[in-house]
């Protein structure tokens, strides 16, 4: 057998409440998290990702199912016995202790000798670049610094797995970007398995080795960021990750993983199909906004998709266009990267055509 999975969730359910108020926060879910992986649980609020994290931490016990840590079932083990540490969303730093005391707390509870604790705390302070503030109270440091202390505190006892519960959500944009890089660095340096919970898809895509997309207590898809983005398993994943255009159509012939799909609004388009996919009749095709460009409406060779430009939104790096397609219903979003000194080619109200890049369209499973 290959290397043991760091964490393995086997058919775990967590039901809150009783009788008619019973609610499955985690619904018969299984997932394996590999050693030294940066694994992200991604989903909207209330999807059960935090509950799953709390089950791994031991703050909740599963209603049914097994949780394995390096092959050992820990589902019934209390949190203070699990070699797993958590970075809390609110940081939960101890206000009656200094920065250094906070970082050393776990080691002290493990009964490590004082010298070892001091050495380790110093190393941790250095790792998160907080040496100068070791003696401060946690109320006397900024949000970003508190974040670093929370990280150092959770890493100090050298856990097998580090859990991070939306740790960046309280930081401002620039700090969040810095911390994303910092987290990746820490993960690489420590070699600890990170399980990261977020509702921010961009954060998930940029940081993760693999992502599990959750909704209503279930994991819908597990894969690396590229798989999740390029080959979403279903409509929810496609919709949640990035912006997506959905077009309905009838599937025609399939050859070499490419299908011809007849769509009422765009005519016949060729779309990639998932492996082992066999479907007849009505299907949904997804198109990412950045895989399409605007063109004059009479460029028949580019696309049969035409419509009226309703909205132009300038984002700095790129510009978003919202086009009302010829059926009068579908609002198609596309995104073009801005070039230096570019002059706007189209304005709201113009009739436009939409040109699709090769392999832009993909047939959704279901």
């Amino acid at each position: 057998m290959a290397e043991l999975n760091a964490v393995e969730i086997r058919q775990v359910s967590k039901i809150f409440g009783f009788g008619e108020f019973a609610f499955a926060a985690v619904d018969n879910t299984s997932v394996s998290i590999r050693q030294n992986e940066f694994f992200t649980l991604l989903g909207p609020s209330g999807c059960g990702k935090t509950t799953l994290l709390r089950l791994i931490a031991g703050f909740e016990y599963p209603t049914s199912g097994e949780i394995l840590l390096n092959g050992e079932d820990i589902a019934a083990m209390p949190p203070f016995k699990r070699p797993i540490n958590t970075v809390f969303q609110s940081y939960a730093l101890f206000p009656h202790m200094t920065v250094a005391e906070n970082i050393g707390f776990g080691l002290m509870m493990l009964g490590k000798p004082k010298r070892e604790i001091n050495e380790r705390v110093d190393a941790m302070l250095k790792l998160v670049r907080m040496e100068a503030l070791a003696g401060r109270r946690t109320s006397q440091i900024s949000g970003g610094q508190q974040q670093r202390v929370a990280l150092a505190r959770a890493l100090a006892p050298q856990p097998k797995v580090l859990l991070l519960d939306e740790p960046l959500s309280a930081l401002d944009y620039k700090l969040r970007k810095d911390m994303q890089i910092e987290l990746k660095r820490l993960q690489a340096e420590t070699g600890i398995t990170f399980i990261f919970v977020t509702h921010d898809q961009e954060e998930a895509l940029t940081m993760s080795d693999r992502i599990a997309v959750m909704s209503s207590g279930k994991i819908l898809q597990v894969g690396n960021p590229r798989e999740i983005y390029d080959a979403p398993a279903d409509r929810f994943v496609a919709d949640f990750i990035g912006e997506t255009n959905f077009l309905k159509g009838r599937i025609g012939s399939v050859a070499n993983g490419i299908a011809d799909v007849d769509t009422p609004v765009a005519g016949r388009i060729s779309a990639t199909v998932p492996q082992d996919f066999h479907a007849e009749g009505e299907v949904t095709v997804v198109l990412r906004p950045e895989h399409a460009t605007l063109c004059p409406p009479d460029r028949a060779d580019a696309s049969q998709m035409t419509g009226t430009l309703e909205n132009v939104v300038y984002f700095g790096t790129d510009t978003h266009y919202h086009v009302r397609l010829s059926d009068g219903e579908t609002l198609f979003t596309l995104r073009e990267q801005n070039k230096p000194l570019q002059v706007a080619r189209f304005a709201a109200g113009d009739r436009v055509g939409i040109a699709l890049e090769a392999n832009a369209a993909r047939v959704l499973r279901n």
């Binding site: 931490a57 031991g58 703050f59 209390p78 949190p79 203070f80 016995k81 797993i84 540490n85 958590t86 809390f88 609110s90 939960a92 730093l93 101890f94 206000p95 009656h96 202790m97 200094t98 005391e101 707390f105 776990g106 509870m109 493990l110 109270r137 505190r153 959770a154 006892p157």
Partner: protein, 306 residues
């Protein structure tokens, strides 16, 4: 420039005067209702006792001497008033034990209430305050009814055949302690609850997460964080317990006196108001010293963490 500065200064003075004027009612109440009676007590302690109670307007230190010394009625020599000293010691000890017992019972109670869902907390708090609705005297007699030799407990034990003759529970220190813990428990629970309600229970989770056992979470995280509540509750219990009168007089009988009873005795049967006054002031001084020691200790412990 100077004119402007002068106007600002005048304005400030006016403001200060206005503030004094507005706080005048409060100051008057403090002066008349709190300081005034105390001054009278202090004055009385330096006067001579009247023959039927009251005081004679003759300066005398007899009251203060009587606090610690007693005069032999035959030869007129002075010796240490061992009875008074032992009552002082007993009062302080019983109050300390009461405080510790209420803390031991009150802490889990307050924790229990603070960890209930928000809606049911009010109900629990309400139940804690129910004893306050009934007169202290009646509540104390209720305890007497339970623990006296012909009372509920002894009756049941006798009937069940576990004991042959009733256990003497009434008129013991244990009876006084039971009564005082019962009476003062809400005064401990309420400030403790107020602190615990503000406690961020995510910190408790963080403690568990960092390998702290439940006992260590209690010792290293919960207790340091609810310390203000522990201090407030202890003060609120210790002070009235030291001067308790009704409970020790009913449950302790005549012989197990506390300071409150001793003071009452001087103003009543003893007809020695100056001694009673001197004892009252002494009680106040003990409370003040105890408070100072306690608050300073607690304070320095708190700042050691910083």
């Amino acid at each position: 420039m100077t004119d402007a500065a002068g106007t600002i200064e005048a304005e400030q003075n006016r403001n200060i005067r206005k503030r004094w004027l507005l706080s005048l009612p409060a100051l008057l109440i403090i002066l008349v209702a709190a300081t005034g009676p105390l001054l009278i007590v202090l004055l009385y302690s330096f006067l001579a006792p009247g023959p039927y109670g009251d005081v004679q307007w003759l300066p005398s230190f007899d009251g203060w001497v009587g606090v610690f010394m007693e005069k032999d009625i035959f030869d007129g020599t002075f010796s240490l008033a061992s009875a008074h000293v032992s009552i002082f010691m007993r009062s302080v000890m019983l109050s300390l034990v009461t405080t510790i017992l209420t803390l031991l019972v009150g802490f889990p109670t307050a924790y229990f209430i603070a960890t209930r869902p928000e809606k049911t907390r009010e109900l629990w708090l309400f139940m804690i305050t129910i004893p306050f609705w009934t007169n202290l005297l009646i509540r104390t007699f209720a305890i007497l009814e339970v623990i006296r030799n012909e009372g509920l407990i002894n009756g049941l034990l006798l009937k069940s055949g576990l004991i042959a003759k009733p256990i003497q529970m009434l008129f013991t220190d244990g009876a006084i302690l039971t009564g005082m813990v019962y009476v003062y428990l809400p005064l401990m629970v309420l400030p403790l609850y107020a602190s615990m309600e503000k406690l961020d229970f995510r910190l408790v989770e963080a403690g568990y997460d960092l390998y702290a056992t439940p006992f260590r979470v209690l010792r290293k995280i919960i207790i340091p964080l609810v310390k203000p509540g522990i201090i407030a509750g202890s003060i609120l219990v210790f002070i009235p317990a030291l001067g308790a009168y009704v409970t020790p007089s009913i449950l302790g009988g005549g012989k197990n006196m506390m300071l409150g009873n001793l003071i009452e005795l001087q103003f009543g049967q003893g007809r020695n108001w100056p001694l009673g006054s001197a004892l009252s002031i002494t009680l106040m001084l003990i409370v003040m010293v105890a408070l100072l020691v306690y608050v300073r200790n607690a304070g320095s412990q708190g700042s050691r963490h910083g």
